[in-house]
Symmetry: C2
Subunit: 329 residues, 2 copies
Amino acid sequence: MIRIGIDAMGGDNAPKEIVKGAILATKLNKELSLTLVGDEEKINCVLDEQKADRSHIEVVHATEVIEGDDQPVKAIRRKKDSSLVVMMNLLKEGKVDAVVSAGNTGALLAGGIFIAGRIEGVSRPAITGIYPSLNPTVILDIGANADVSPEHLVEFAKMGSIFAKIAFKKDDIKVGLINIGTEETKGNELVKKAYPLLKETQEISFYGNVEARDIPKGIVDVAVCDGFTGNTILKLTEGLAETIFAMMKEVVYSSTKAKMGALLMKDSLKGMKDSLNYEEVGGAVLLGVDGVVVKAHGSSNAKAFSNAILRAAEYHHSGLIAHIKEVIS
Amino acid sequence: MIRIGIDAMGGDNAPKEIVKGAILATKLNKELSLTLVGDEEKINCVLDEQKADRSHIEVVHATEVIEGDDQPVKAIRRKKDSSLVVMMNLLKEGKVDAVVSAGNTGALLAGGIFIAGRIEGVSRPAITGIYPSLNPTVILDIGANADVSPEHLVEFAKMGSIFAKIAFKKDDIKVGLINIGTEETKGNELVKKAYPLLKETQEISFYGNVEARDIPKGIVDVAVCDGFTGNTILKLTEGLAETIFAMMKEVVYSSTKAKMGALLMKDSLKGMKDSLNYEEVGGAVLLGVDGVVVKAHGSSNAKAFSNAILRAAEYHHSGLIAHIKEVIS
């Protein structure tokens, strides 16, 4: 059995889509035992409505909710009976093996650091995403640490390598440093200092610099950067993909010929859109905290959230945390 | 007459596409008087081959070429008879009103700073690009300064506003600060310190923070950031657009139905691709140096290069440099 705690109140579509996602996950993986944390009445209502099989689903009541605009550290300290804090305590106490939330990212990070705790030797836990493309790339940090030191990037590289081995199910993991040129001497002070450190790091296979233009092509398995850069890359990707598809719709409506063409291409384009879709990937992971903590996209629907749960189970099953402890300490 | 100096030897397709672009520009704008700098023999050869009307084209011989991988500052100092340095001297001496090169960006920047000179009051000239989308956005810096101070961002905001007024032909210019969240308290140390400074700056209309996802949507006219972030944004856009179009081709080839659809959509998609194309926009501008310096894309063909020349003429004609001097001093 893999026991997973779920923040049933986090995200734009909570609790309905979260609970539906949990039900879906238990159908897809019979090894799961899920604990849904949040407003008992509301959760039970969705479970009943969906005629859920409750043999692998338990509900733990929590009276408060951390909202998207709550100040993360304050929220963690003050809303002691929030679904997120109660869920994180279950992880801390060893009552669940992993947790998943679609709620406030900062609060999840703060909860991971202050409740679950950092892994010894990790100075900065990182939010780790999988860049969606035909050759996906693990990127970290994507938003936990806007300012980092060169040494932090080395930690990210080590943790990211271990994570990529599990996520991509392969051993040969290449780590790149995101930079504005491929030459060793390029970049800002941070990456210029990080380059030689990464080159010397025994635990990773360092590829060198990668430019942002190569990220969608997937030329490395892991790309490390400060959280400002990583967040910018993911958000720009989201915005640009949306814009391109919106432009496509516009050009299509401008001509009957194009409209017919679009109709014929519809299924194929849908497949492409999916492969650029965060929801298909299954959320980001908080690497460096002592437990599997998965952040599902805030706008997750049931399918996206169930994917995030399945991923969390996989990460626990493959011993992600133990592997990080081994390499970092 | 607008006199423009051309680095005929810079760029992947020099001198042929550069010279052809110059000829095209003189056909499109009868007010131009162009000075092509570089290997006289090679330039004349293309001019003859194209049966060019030479009444508005002059050639100035230069024996050396700065290559793409030359170290910029060294190249400027050592290759005194390079096309780029000779061209920049023409600008310095007032023999031309503006210069255009598709060559080494760093060398053009170094030439701009050390030969043409900075405008008084500007501490860091910035490479300024126009983000290609349906609502284009002026972005600076896109690569001249990997590390900047909050005060530099204020300078960029002032220069960018003036540039956008000219480029977009409108007076109401909104300036955004690129950040990883919209709230005032978000971001790294740089942007947190820059926010209040920008808010206080009388000469601009400050919109607040903009996230990278909003750049393709064009919600501000000018977006300021350090050169590392700006370069990352432009390169990711390039790479992602390429990847999406490559994926589109792939899905199309996977089904006969989709192939027919693509054929019907072809013209419309071409139009869309063009609006995301740097070449259509006409190059980046070096703001803060004492003269109009335009950098065309390294892979410019004749059409792209002629666009860059036409833009340079427009910037000179509209008094870009005088306006910057007025606001900055």
